[in-house]
């Protein structure tokens, strides 16, 4: 039931954004999202309650600025590597520990790792993220974790418990 309502709200929102907020569009969108969420909602992982407003607020205010900042850094770093005549690389696959339990949270963390400097997540396990790193530094697992996912881990751990 919770999944059904959440999927309905998400579908209706996307429909209204796509078609504009006219009366006919919004009403037909309600009907369409009702039918669609009745059919597919059990296969999806849209599931939230009223705390979503607080979470989205936190997400926008804290996570997105940090994310954008790290992403710009990542791109400048990548540009430096690409444009230098001899490409400085020391690639390797490393493991990173994570404490986040929620699946959507782990997905967001993996995506953030992909988009931040020099790292790309390859696979996620129960509590490990396998990461491809362009420039491996350090030796121990704890060092990797701190280097790669430290700030995101804290922020996302607060948002997705």
């Amino acid at each position: 039931m919770r999944k059904f309502l959440s999927a309905f709200v998400v579908f209706w929102l996307i429909w209204s954004v796509l078609s504009g907020f006219r009366m006919q569009d919004v009403l037909i969108g309600a009907v369409v999202s009702l039918v669609l969420s009745f059919v597919v909602s059990r296969y999806l992982s849209f599931s939230f309650d009223f705390r979503i407003f607080y979470k989205v607020f936190l997400f926008i205010v804290i996570y997105i600025p940090v994310f954008l900042y790290r992403m710009v850094l990542a791109n400048l770093d990548m540009a430096r590597r690409v444009l230098s005549p001899s490409i400085p690389l020391n690639p390797g696959f490393v493991k990173v520990k994570t404490k986040i339990k929620s699946k959507t949270g782990k997905l967001t963390l993996a995506n953030s790792i992909t988009l931040t400097p020099g790292t790309m997540s390859v696979e996620v396990d129960e509590e490990t993220i396998y990461v491809h790193w362009v420039d491996v530094q350090g030796e121990e697992k704890e060092e990797y974790s701190k280097e790669i996912s430290g700030s995101f881990e804290n922020i996302l751990g607060g948002i997705f418990r």
Binding site: F11, I28, Y43, F46, T104, L107
Partner: protein, 241 residues
Amino acid sequence: MKKIIAILLTVAVALFVFTNLYSGDSDFKAFGEKSLEETVSKEFVNKTVDPQRVQPETGSANIVTSIVVNYRGFDTMGEVTVLFVSALGVALLGGVLRKKVTFRYKPGFIINQGMKIIVGIILISGIYIFVHGHLTPGGGFPGGAMIGSAFLLMYLSDDKFRTRIAAFKVLEGLAGSLIMIVGLVGLSTGGYFLYNFLPNGEIGQLLSAGIVPVLYVLVGLKVGSEVSNILGDFFIGEVEE
């Protein structure tokens, strides 16, 4: 050797096309020089946007849609029938071959979880595409393909998702029969098959253009459910009929 022949053939075709396009006395006019006044397309544009007419003939903002679904509606029905026949063929062959697509590894966590968010967005935008087929580019066939692609994504990224959704069989037949019923209602009210018996309304509104959006929604549902059925036959590999 094969590659050399392929390259020679490509060059020959390219030379043929270019000489025909750029020589002065060819039948093809240069870009922008062809006069549209003498072609038939002007007539169709006028029928839709001519301000002197009391009511536009189709009321559809997208002229291509008005031609595909209104003037050539019977043809579109034929195309949907072709899809239906191919889906039937795949279902029959799937029963004979009994060969499934097998993967060496399970789908990874990232795609498995990402799918559960992305599929929702794909499905709702696919439905948006075919409901707004008479206002925006797109329509029944791209929208149906998007719905089919969403189910392909589900089959690829979740090894638990092997249950065929039974609703699709029903939906496919229902959409096909409703297209026929809309055509027959037109036959009984207006005198010919697929007659536009609904009011045309105002161009640009969602509820306009008579039976065009109705038909396009049905076509979209039918294409989507058929593509999903074909994919299901490929992945599950057996049919129970």
